[in-house]
Structures are given as structure tokens and as C-alpha cells.
């Protein structure tokens, strides 16, 4: 059984193996014949002598076979030596060639390093973000689950707690279904209070569903999730354990004061994302016997029983949903289940798509670099026609010549890949340093084995592709013809000219597609930044204060009022207000709404976000009050009263219920289909895009903050100057009001807006960068081809000049020649962009995938570039002195 290496060698060096076999045959034949001749000399006749010799030999053919067989391994070894010798020769020759042409080698290596480096860097991000498996066993059994109300257009909403517990018990296909709810807790009892991000999770969440073994201690026990159980326990995330306790194992069993209550640390989770380091501490979610069914608040994750398909599991849950709809027809009308893969924890669909598009974009860039390199090699090959012909004439086989050409291009691409790797390392470092935000796991991105394999693969592929084109072209030419032809006829041959035209068209097409994609992204991003947000961002600071459960309605109201009153006294503060949810932060509280006389409108109850706000909120955020007024203290909520609560709504909300009418003074049913409450509209304010700049403005209901506990405030501070200058004053203000409360998440609104579009900016900048590089490469490529072909025509041009042709006419003719393939390439590029950009429609905003401005702009840009790249060499050629031109011969 020959080893793969041997088989590979056989492919490369079939001649030497056969030759050695033949030699053995020849040698043994010679021996036989000598023996026969000797016997003949002793008096036997010819045929007798031959028979006797063969008899003495035994079976000569068998002996040959055995000798050859016995020699196989030695032959192979010798073949290997021969091959290595040949390779070494090729390599040495190739290196010498590269060394002799430093200009050519430098340009080729720079292009390769750029192309392969960019691909390596992007691939390493893709590998880490999209391809690296989640750190949980049997991930394929894990599903994210949501409630849905398809008729109302709600596809994924959190589970209502009561529905969750029912689904958990009534399903037959899941090992366990777990739930979580994000929250914050204040850690006190240390020098300074600290706000920690926390999650409450059901007892089986880590152990059963994610299948995680704790780094230390244990995960939650079932009884810790039961009402009345010992639920004052906590798990620490590894990162938090490291940063806060220096990985001290003795923290296990001690108590932390979280939101004023002592919790025992029972375990440390292992490091890693998602989930395990997503929060800082984890608390058990305790089952509440009177869990609400009307507020959709739980994130839910289930693990299927082994062997159960996703479809079967989801179908099972759907049938549970049907039963829940029958049991609670009012609140669960139209309930369904939707699901998602756990990989979405790392990157959602939009980001996934964006990363694949990035990989495609760098792929195009590398292809353009390849085309350029092939072009260069082709020009080289023409320059070396004589050398090649000489080598062929002295007996280098066609295979050997192709091998030599491939060795050279592989040598280039391998060195280029090495340089590219360095470039990628540097680029990743850069990206990590200026973390643009919006890309998960960016810190974990590294050049690992997969990435190295990818780089190597890209390098080899590049080498083979770029080497094969000129190699085949080269070996196709007849050595004798070339030697006789003086090396001129072949270089200008029609086949080569056609090949060059194809390469030019190809690289222009690739560049056009890339530029159109980048142009669409840039235009979309511009539209997003220009879009009317509905609020002002200048000189505004947001800061969060996490209120523990001990703050009821009265305490919260008092705290808000004291904070606002005192904060107004800080110099440069122009406005202060509180809101229950930060804009652009993702995730929001929602409610259904309807007109009281039409509680069940056709097409389902519409959905609005609701926010608790203090009266100065619209002013502080720069949201215009269009009708009516904002709140006063008289509008505060009174839980005992049955009178309608007074609310302010957004323009879209008002237009939806009462198009063309004045909504002020009217009453709407809020939480329609849930626990309905009437709300009287006292004012209408402008729409704001608070779910994201690229999302439509929300329909919104603003409810007075005072009088309601349980919601921690985000303070909006509007200042006259740099808003961050008031941060220290705000901190000491909070410490004065309650030393156990931390001020956290202090960010300017500009930063928040910037972060909300960070991933778009990242993708846009990279695709834009690749597109610009592709343009430069294409320009260099066109210029190179043009300069070369003009140089080939020098003597012809000289003749024309000598005959009295006008310069402008010569230039026009040369440019005209080049524009054919260029125009074809641009046309093909526009066509493919037309198809390809559809894939990125979801990344675009207010710009169609077929946006004519972009397409025309890119075509114009490229035509101009091509014209310039042709015109320069053409002009130079037209100025040629006929005498010099003839001397070229």
C-alpha cells in the first residue's frame, strides 16, 4: 500500500520511477545474454544456450518482477531524492528570479500580503464569532423559546411567568425548560456600593439546560427555586470572581449583601461566553404561585430530550400553547411558540449576514489581487519567452516547465501568505485596540489552527491559480518558433492579448461589485445618521441608579424629586429628568392599546412601548410637545383611584387611534387584552426612534413616574457645556441621598447613539476600505496592462509617428483599444452587483439594493479611473521619438 506521499510523488515524478524499472530490466537482460553468449562459446547452439541461460536464471521474468518489487521502496526513496533535488533546483531558480526582479517581486508580494492578510483577519473574526461552537455539550439540543402572537405581528416576546411554568410542566419532549430574567442588584457591605448586573435563573438553567459544570462549588438545587426554599444563594461569574475576589476560593460559603439581603455564595461558574460571564452574579428564580399571565418578561431556554428533533419539540410546545389558549382564552388568544438557535446569543441574523458579506468582500479583494498577479506573471512570461524556449530546447519537459512556473508562483504566494499573516496579526491588534463595539467575542479572536489552515489554503490556491494561467500559456508556445522569432512575435500574440483583456474585465467586474456594495452601505449609514431621531443628543448625559426592592412607590418618588431638585442646582445643568428605560438600549416594556369603544379591532391590538417619566423628560431630551401639556405633580399615579391614569402619548400613537382628530382629553384602553386600564391623554409629543436609528419610530405611552415603585430610574441631564463634567457632582449627590446606592452606566447620549450603530459603522468602514483597496488594485492592474501593451507597440507607434500621425489620434486609438474590455468588465460588474447586493438588503436603510445613484456613481468613478490609467501610458507612447522606437529592435 503506497503512502499518500508516494502517490503524490508518483504524480510529480512518474518518469524517474519508470526509468529505474526499465534499467533493472535492461541490466538483467544483459546478464542473460552474456550468460547465453558464454554458453554458446562452450559449444551450445544459440537457442540451446539461451534456454540454458534462462534455466540457470530460473524464471527470468519472475526474477525481474521480484527484483523490481524488492527495489520498490528503494526506487521510491530515490524518487523522493530526485524530486527533492528538482524542487530544490526549482526553488533556488525561483528565488533567484524573484531576487533579480525586486520591483516585480515587491509589488506582487505587497498585493498578496494585502489580499491574504485581509482574508485572514476577517476569517479569524468569522471563525470566532460564527463558527466556533458554543461551550455547552450537545448544543443542538438547546433551543431558545418565545411566546408569539402572529396575528398581532408579535413574533418573539418573552414568556408570561404563569405560561412559562405551565409549558415547563405540560411538555413531553424537553429534559427541562429554564427561564431567566435580567436585573441589577446593589452589592453593599463593602467600602463602596457596587451595582452588579445579575440574572435570576431557574434552578436547572446552568446544570441541566446549559450542561455546565461549576468551576467551584455547585449550581442551584431544585429546592432553591421553590417558594419558601433556601433561595438566598448566589452563583458568581468567573470574570467577576476574578476581578472582585482575585479568584479566592474561600469566597465559597461566605455571604454577599445583595440589595440589602445576605446571600450565600454556593458556586463559581466556569469562564466563557455566552451566558457564563454575561452577568456578574446569578440568583435563583423563585416560583411564584400567583405568577402573572399578562406580562411577557421571561427569557426561556429549553433542552430537548436526546433523539427528539427540533420540529417534534416545537410541535409539542405548540400543542401545549393550544391548551393554554383553551384554558385562558382571554389572555392567551392566538398564543404560539417561536424558537431560535442558541448561536443567536453570539450574533444575531443581521450581524451574521454582515460578517459573511465582509468575508465575501475580502474574497473579492483577494481575487482582484490574484488577477493582477496573474497579469504580472503573464507579462513576465512574455519577457521570458526566450529563456523558456531555451530551457525547452535543451530538454526540459513541458511538465517540468509548468512545474517551474508553479513553483515560482507558489513561492510568491507562500511568502505573501506569511506576510499576510503578519499583516492580519497587526490588523487584529488594531481592531482590538480601537474596539469598534457591536462585534461580540472580538477579544477572543485569535490566529488559531483553523485560521492558519485557511491562510495556507488561500496562499496555495492563489499560487496555483495565478501560476497556472501564464504557465499554460507559456508551455503552449512552440520553442522553435520562439527562438526563430526573436522573442517578439509571441509577446504580442493574439492569445495573450485576449487573455489580458479577460483579466482586465474580470478585475474591473469584481471591483465594481465591491464598490457598489460599499457605496450602498455608506449611503445607508449616511441616511441613518441623518434620519430624524426625534430627540436631541448634544450635551446630554444618562446615568442609572439602581433602586433596591426596599424602595416602594413613596420612597422612589421622594428620591426622584430630591435628586432632580438638587441636580438642578449644579452649575451648567439646564434640565434633569428620569425615565424608566434608556433609549436605544434594546428591550423595552410594552402594552397593547385600543379605543374603549372598539376593544378588539380588526387585525389585532396594536402594540406600544411604555415608559415612566418625570415631567421634565420631554424638555431634557428635546422631544417637542405637539399638543396639550406634560405632567404635573397632580397627575401622579394613585393606585387606589379608579379614575383614568393620565398619560402623554407619541404622535404615531395618537394618529393610530384618532387619525386627524385632537386626542387630548380622550381616553384610551391601555394594556388591552392584559389587565386593562383606562388612560386619559393629556398631551401628544413627537415620535422618537428609541428602538434603534434604523427602526421605525415607536408608538409610545409616557406614564408619570411619581407614585410607582419597582422601576429603577435612568436620569437624563441636559447641560450647557461638556456633560461629563457634572459626573462627580452627580455621584456625590447620590451618595448624599443614600450611601448604599451606586450611580452607574454614565454615558453621553452621543455615545449611546454611536454605540447603537457601531456594528453598522464597523461593517461599512471595512467594506469601504476593501472597496477602496480594490479600486487601487484594479487601477494598478489596468495601468500595468496598458503600459505593457503600449510598450509592446512602441515600434508600431514609432512608424505611425514617423508617417505623420497626429498625437491625439494615436492616444485616442490606444485608449479606445483598452476601453473595450474595461467597459465590458464594468457592465458585468454592475450586473453581478445587481444580483449580489440583494443579499445585503437587510443591512441597508432607506437605500434600495438597486439605488441608481450608487450604480451610476461607481460606473463613473471606474470609467474615469480606467481612462486615466490608459491615458497616461498612451500619452507617453505618443510622444515617442521614432528613432528611439526603431532602436528598440
Amino acid at each position: 500500500m503506497p503512502s499518500p506521499l508516494d502517490r503524490w510523488i508518483r504524480l510529480w515524478a512518474p518518469l524517474s520511477g519508470r526509468r529505474l524499472e526499465r534499467e533493472i530490466h535492461d541490466e538483467l537482460d544483459f546478464h542473460l545474454e552474456m550468460l547465453a553468449t558464454e554458453l554458446e562459446g562452450r559449444g551450445l547452439d544459440r537457442s540451446e544456450a539461451q534456454m540454458a541461460a534462462e534455466a540457470r536464471f530460473g524464471d527470468p521474468s519472475r526474477m525481474k518482477r521480484e527484483a523490481v518489487k524488492g527495489e520498490r521502496s528503494r526506487i521510491r526513496k530515490r524518487e523522493r531524492v530526485l524530486l527533492m533535488d528538482g524542487l530544490r533546483q526549482d526553488l533556488r531558480f525561483g528565488l533567484r528570479q524573484l531576487w533579480k526582479r525586486p520591483m516585480f517581486s515587491g509589488i506582487a508580494l505587497a498585493m498578496l500580503a494585502l489580499g491574504i492578510g485581509a482574508n485572514t483577519a476577517i476569517f479569524s473574526v468569522v471563525q470566532t464569532v460564527l463558527l466556533r461552537p458554543l461551550p455547552f455539550p450537545a448544543t443542538e439540543e438547546i433551543l431558545q423559546l418565545w411566546e408569539s402572537r402572529q396575528e398581532q405581528g408579535r413574533n418573539r416576546s418573552g414568556f408570561a411567568p404563569a405560561n412559562y411554568w405551565d409549558v415547563r410542566e405540560m411538555n413531553r419532549t424537553f429534559v427541562d425548560i429554564g427561564a431567566f430574567r435580567w436585573t441589577q442588584v446593589n452589592l453593599t457591605g463593602e467600602d463602596h456600593p457596587t451595582r452588579l448586573s445579575a440574572a435570576r435563573v431557574t434552578s436547572g438553567f446552568f446544570g441541566t439546560i446549559l450542561g455546565v459544570n461549576p468551576a467551584l462549588g455547585r449550581t442551584f438545587l431544585p429546592e432553591e427555586g421553590e417558594a419558601g426554599g433556601a433561595s438566598r444563594v448566589t452563583l458568581l461569574a468567573y470574570d467577576f470572581w476574578q476581578s472582585h475576589f482575585g479568584r479566592d476560593p474561600s469566597v465559597l460559603g461566605t455571604s454577599l449583601i445583595l440589595d440589602g439581603e445576605s446571600h450565600t455564595v454556593v458556586g463559581i461558574l466556569p469562564p466563557g461566553r455566552p451566558w457564563l460571564d454575561a452577568g456578574e452574579v446569578f440568583l435563583p428564580m423563585v416560583r411564584n404561585p400567583d405568577a402573572p399571565r399578562g406580562s411577557w418578561e421571561l427569557g426561556v431556554v429549553g433542552r430537548l430530550m436526546p433523539g427528539v428533533s427540533r420540529e417534534a419539540g416545537v410541535a409539542d410546545l405548540e400543542s401545549v400553547a393550544r391548551r393554554l389558549e383553551e384554558l385562558y382564552p382571554d389572555i392567551n388568544e392566538g398564543i404560539g411558540i417561536s424558537w431560535g438557535l442558541p448561536e443567536e446569543w453570539i450574533a444575531d441574523d443581521g450581524l451574521r449576514r454582515a460578517l459573511w458579506i465582509l468575508l465575501g468582500a475580502v474574497g473579492f479583494l483577494l481575487m482582484i489581487a490574484c488577477v493582477n498577479l496573474a497579469n504580472l506573471l503573464l507579462a513576465q512570461a512574455s519577457g521570458r519567452v526566450r529563456e523558456t524556449a531555451v530551457r525547452a530546447a535543451v530538454g526540459a519537459g513541458k511538465g517540468r516547465l509548468v512545474r517551474q512556473a508553479l513553483t515560482e508562483s507558489l513561492l510568491l504566494s507562500t511568502i505573501g501568505a506569511g506576510l499576510g499573516l503578519l499583516l492580519a496579526l497587526w490588523g487584529l491588534d488594531l481592531v482590538r485596540t480601537f474596539d469598534p463595539g457591536g462585534i461580540p467575542r472580538l477579544g477572543e479572536v485569535s490566529i488559531n489552527g483553523w485560521v492558519l489552515a485557511f491562510t495556507l489554503g488561500a496562499g496555495v490556491l492563489t499560487g496555483v491559480v495565478t501560476g497556472l494561467i501564464p504557465a499554460l500559456q507559456r508551455s503552449g508556445s512552440d520553442a522553435g518558433d520562439t527562438l526563430r522569432g526573436g522573442g517578439r512575435s509571441i509577446s504580442g500574440s493574439r492569445a495573450q492579448r485576449r487573455m489580458r483583456a479577460v483579466l482586465v474585465s474580470t478585475e474591473l467586474a469584481l471591483s465594481v461589485a465591491l464598490l457598489v456594495g460599499a457605496g450602498l452601505l455608506v449611503r445607508s449609514f449616511g441616511e441613518i445618521l441623518r434620519v430624524d431621531r426625534g430627540f436631541q443628543t448634544e450635551n446630554r448625559l444618562l446615568a442609572r441608579v439602581n433602586l433596591p426592592p426596599s424602595y416602594g412607590g413613596t420612597e422612589t418618588g421622594l428620591f426622584l424629586q430630591q435628586f432632580e431638585d438638587r441636580a438642578r442646582l449644579i452649575p451648567s445643568v439646564e434640565g434633569v429628568a428620569a425615565v424608566s428605560g434608556r433609549p436605544l438600549a434594546g428591550g423595552s416594556t410594552g402594552l397593547g392599546f385600543a379605543r374603549p369603544e372598539d376593544p378588539d379591532p380588526e387585525g389585532g391590538v396594536p402594540w406600544a412601548t411604555w415608559r415612566l417619566v418625570t415631567s421634565g423628560y420631554f424638555d431634557a431630551m428635546g422631544i417637542p410637545i405637539l399638543r396639550g401639556r406634560t405632567f404635573t405633580l397632580d397627575d401622579r399615579l394613585n393606585p387606589e383611584s379608579t379614575a383614568p391614569m393620565r398619560v402623554v402619548v407619541s404622535q404615531r400613537f395618537a394618529d393610530h387611534l384618532w387619525p386627524g382628530e385632537d386626542p387630548v382629553g380622550r381616553v384610551a384602553t391601555l394594556w388591552a387584552g392584559q389587565n386593562e386600564r383606562p388612560g386619559e391623554i393629556i398631551g401628544v409629543v413627537g415620535n422618537i426612534r428609541e428602538r434603534g436609528l434604523a427602526q421605525d419610530p415607536t408608538m409610545a405611552v409616557y406614564i408619570p413616574y411619581f407614585g410607582l415603585g419597582g422601576f429603577s430610574p435612568e436620569f437624563v441631564i441636559h447641560t450647557s457645556g461638556d456633560p461629563t463634567s457634572v459626573t462627580p457632582a452627580l455621584r456625590s449627590l447620590v451618595a448624599e441621598l443614600d450611601p448604599n446606592l451606586p450611580l452607574s452606566n454614565v454615558e453621553t447620549l452621543d455615545e449611546i447613539v454611536g454605540a447603537s450603530v457601531a456594528d453598522r459603522r464597523f461593517v461599512m468602514l471595512l467594506v469601504g476600505l476593501f472597496a477602496v483597496l480594490s479600486l487601487l488594485l484594479a487601477m494598478a492592474g489596468v495601468y500595468g496592462v496598458q503600459a505593457y501593451s503600449v510598450a509592446q507597440q512602441t515600434s508600431e507607434i514609432g512608424v505611425r509617428v514617423a508617417m505623420g500621425a497626429a498625437q491625439s489620434r494615436i492616444i485616442r486609438k490606444i485608449v479606445y483599444q483598452a476601453m473595450g474590455p474595461a467597459a465590458l468588465g464594468i457592465a458585468i460588474g454592475l450586473g453581478s452587483a445587481f444580483g449580489l447586493t440583494r443579499l445585503m438588503e437587510s443591512l441597508l436603510f432607506q437605500v434600495g439594493a438597486t439605488d441608481p445613484t450608487t450604480y451610476m456613481g461607481v460606473s463613473g468613478l471606474l470609467l474615469g479611473t480606467v481612462l486615466l490609467s490608459c491615458w497616461i501610458p498612451a500619452r507617453r507612447a505618443a510622444k515617442v521619438d521614432p528613432v528611439v522606437a526603431f532602436r528598440v529592435e
Binding site: 534499467e23 541490466e27 546478464h31 545474454e33 526474477m63 527484483a67 524488492g70 527495489e71 528503494r74 530515490r78
Partner: protein, 112 residues
Amino acid sequence: MPDPKAFLLKGTLDLLILKALTLGPRHGYGVARWLEESSRDLLRIEEGSLYPALYRMEDKGWIRSEWGMSETNRKAKYYAITTQGRTQLEQEATGWERLVEAVSLVLQVQGG
């Protein structure tokens, strides 16, 4: 008397071939003929083992080969001993003499 033709110890063949080549390059047939002649036909070399031995020794670098013209004007492969081969020959010859001496001594022991 045992047939000496069957009494060719492993390794001895290499020794004999090296010796045959000390007098100048020979082709495989020439080596076989020379050994038969100089042993007065007591030794006969099996072609089946001669050539593998030659190839093996060439591989080890003791001999090298070259195609040339035979005395009958035919293309033949000639083997020549290398410096390394000469060293090897010396070593093996010494080893052989010691072996012969040792075996003779044992055989000369009287009594029993």
C-alpha cells in the same frame, strides 16, 4: 563434505562483491563470473541474490553505478567501489578472518 555453494553466510556476499570490485569496475555479470573463477568454481552466485545485493549496496553508498559499453559493445551497467566501500571491505574482511579463526579454534578443541 557440505556444498560450499549453499554455505554463503549472510553478509558474506557483500564482502565478496566488494572484493570483486577492488580490481576495477565490473558489471553484474562480470562480478558473478569473477567470483566463480577466483573461487575455482567452488562459489556460485545466485543471480536472484546478486542484483538485490548490488542495489542495496549502492543505496548504502558502498558502490556506485554507471551505464557504459561492455566488451561485447553492449550497453551495460558498471559498478565501482567507493571510498566508503573500501572502508567497509576492510572492516568486513577483518571480521571474516576473525570468524574463521574463531571457528577453526573451536573445531580444533580435542576430546569430548
